[in-house]
């Protein structure tokens, strides 16, 4: 991906697996969000290919990627539908199956049973995710009125409501207090255990990254500089150099490198 003369990411390849969390870390401007934007079709790569299970993504528009490749994402700055209620936010995520069931609104306008059944199904799916994220009590409140931490959870629940195979989380812990962060980490670990979803996680909070990820990819200046388990990454000299600059590697214990990196 190039912006004018600047190559934002190049030659990054890695694998993500169901029931695993792959974290993508790197200093500011390393190209993490750009990578997400390419994956989810918000940017079209200037060259190269992106495939998911053999499906070429680089030719699809963003909304086609969400529907056909079943990639869902959240955003660094939360993007909810603030005036709509929590339940409505989730119902929008069930748009495609509902639209089909309502025969592009015709059956819905006539109030046919076929549509009413589909609507009940969609509510059931939404309710399941609301329960998982402890949001059921807020189902009928405006999304914009929720506290920040709950909004983060709602955004993830909404993305999950589209029934994705790949979920891309862009800094889900940004702006959360330590208690909320711990809660989020627990939720992510829970998702990894029970749902067959591959997850990509961009995060600066190393406690989250080290706590839940199975695999870490480190980017710097648009290139992959390291890849491996959290344990390996903590000790990787190239990673420490990217985060702290050219310093004396010996002088810094590896654990500090992990904690300072924000």
């Amino acid at each position: 991906m190039r912006f004018g003369g600047l190559t934002a990411i190049a030659g990054v390849s890695f694998q993500a697996h169901p029931n695993q969390i792959t974290a993508i870390i790197g200093p500011n401007g390393a190209g993490k969000t750009t990578l997400f934007n390419c994956l989810t079709g918000f940017y079209r790569p200037s060259a190269g290919r992106i495939t998911l299970n053999g499906l070429p993504l680089e030719r699809l528009a963003d909304h086609q990627i969400a529907r056909q490749a079943r990639i869902a994402r959240t955003f660094q700055n939360i993007r909810l539908f603030p005036m709509m209620t929590v339940l409505e936010n989730l119902m929008v995520a069930r748009h495609a199956p509902l639209m089909k069931a309502s025969l592009f609104s015709v059956a819905g306008l006539l109030g046919l049973k076929r549509y009413r059944d589909a609507e009940a199904d969609a509510i059931e799916v939404a309710r399941r995710w609301l329960d998982r994220f402890d949001l059921t009590a807020f189902a009928d409140t405006e999304a914009g009125a929720l506290p920040h931490g709950k909004q983060r959870h709602l955004e993830i629940a909404r993305a999950l409501c589209t029934d994705p195979v790949l979920l891309c989380l862009d800094e889900p812990a940004a702006g959360l207090n330590p208690r909320e962060t711990a809660e989020l980490t627990e939720r992510l670990a829970d998702l990894r255990r029970t749902d067959d979803i591959a997850m990509l996680l961009i995060e600066h909070d190393m406690s989250v990254v080290m706590g839940v990820s199975d695999h870490i990819v480190v980017l710097d200046h648009g290139r992959k500089i390291a890849e491996g388990s959290p344990f390996e990454i903590k000790r990787d000299p190239a990673v420490i150099r990217a985060y702290l600059g050219e310093t004396d590697d010996e002088a810094l214990p590896p654990d500090v490198a992990g904690d300072v990196a924000c």
Binding site: R73, F81, P82, H95, M99, R127, A139, D140
Partner: protein
């Protein structure tokens, strides 16, 4: 106190500045020709009145009454209004003028409900809505003139044609948002009017089209007195149909998707919603409503010309939607009654009519800056309604 004085002084100065050219000079006709007379006292009076007014107003806390009416009360109010509208021609005070006036108000209610789908739900600011109204009106007039089709056949045709024009407008403006969208739709409205003005061989140009056939009911024709009442019921039926359509669409996935599009387009795309289809469908649905209203307008007037489809009309319809509180069906009825009805009531004020009208508008915007009724009811609930 000092801040109050300061704000009053500023308001007074603004009034004096505005008043200087408007009130400060007067042309007098004297034997030697026209001459300018200064009227400093008038300007001073404007300064004093506005300053005092501002001072008093800052002191008064305007009561901010929230019409957070529960759902069933709203429903009852809606049913009550519908019943009143249905019985209106039978009421003792309802003479021909009242029913005629009510018909005019209902046309604007219908237009407001149509535009509300585009502006209130989908959040696409449309300043050229009158174009679709014109398409509806001219398509009925032309179909009737050239193919001798009856009103009831032309009505759906006009709706479809207007919807088609909605799509035509939709395509070029897909990438635009907010102010830029408003400017292009404004231009589109003017374009349609210019075509109507200049395509003389088809539309008669500025002379317009006359002798548009009146509607019949299964072949029954009406005397002029009965026709007023018949037309009233036709527009009442049409308006209620549009209302029902809007209310139902809002509870369907398409309606929720429109609202989501208004709230955040990027989030919509990340959830697999196709913004192109959503925008086009919103434009087409709104335009269809305007087309139906337009063809009714043509048959009621019996004569149409481009004069009736100026930007002013678009502005009035948009004002109805905004004043009513975006997204509120009953609010739009109230706003239409105010905006179309008030200028008629104020006829007694003669040349001060528009002044009185303006004062009422300013007062409403001071009192309820987000529209008369603006509370949004969720389209779907998990728990029981409060």
């Amino acid at each position: 106190m000092l801040a109050r004085l300061k704000s009053a002084l500023l308001a007074g100065l603004a009034a004096a500045l505005l008043g200087l050219p408007l009130l400060g000079f007067r042309l007098t006709d004297s034997a030697t020709g026209l001459s300018l007379a200064l009227r400093p006292w008038w300007v001073a009076a404007a300064f004093g009145v506005v300053m005092a007014g501002r001072f008093v107003m800052d002191g008064l806390r305007l009561p901010d009454i929230q019409f957070q009416a529960p759902h069933d009360i709203r429903r009852q109010a809606g049913l009550g209004l519908t019943l009143f509208a249905a019985l209106l021609p039978l009421l003792p005070f309802a003479g021909r003028n009242v029913v005629d006036m009510a018909t005019m108000v209902l046309i604007y209610v219908m237009l407001g409900w149509g535009l509300n789908i585009v502006v209130g739900l989908a959040g696409l600011l449309d300043l050229g809505f009158v174009a679709f109204y014109a398409v509806g009106a001219y398509s009925y007039a032309l179909f009737a003139q050239y193919f001798h089709l009856s009103f009831w056949i032309c009505l759906p045709l006009a709706g479809m044609l207007a919807a088609l024009f909605g799509l035509v407008l939709g395509f070029p403006v897909l990438r635009l948002r907010g102010d830029y969208l408003a400017i292009v739709t404004l231009g589109f409205g003017e374009m349609i009017r210019q075509v109507l003005l200049n395509w003389q061989s088809l539309t008669g140009g500025p002379r317009g089209l006359s002798g548009i056939p009146r509607p019949t009911l299964f072949g029954v024709t009406f005397t002029p007195e009965a026709r007023v009442i018949f037309l009233y019921y036709v527009i009442l039926g049409l308006a209620l149909m549009v209302n029902l359509l809007a209310l139902r669409l809002r509870r369907l996935p398409i309606g929720r998707a429109w609202e989501a599009l208004r709230e955040d387009e990027i989030a919509c795309r990340s959830l697999g919603l196709n913004p192109t289809l959503l925008k086009l469908s919103a434009f087409a649905t709104g335009a269809m409503c305007a087309g139906l209203a337009g063809s009714f307008f043509a048959t009621r007037q019996g004569f149409i010309s481009p004069e009736s489809f100026t930007f002013m009309e678009s502005a009035v319809i948009l004002a109805i939607v905004v004043l009513g509180g975006m997204g509120s069906q009953i609010g739009i009825v109230l706003a239409a009654v105010l905006l179309v009805g008030l200028p008629e009531w104020f006829r007694e004020f003669q040349q001060y009519r528009m002044l009185a009208f303006g004062i009422v508008m300013v007062l409403i915007m001071l009192w309820r800056p987000s529209g008369l009724l603006s509370a949004r009811a969720p389209s779907i609930r998990l728990g029981p309604a409060p």
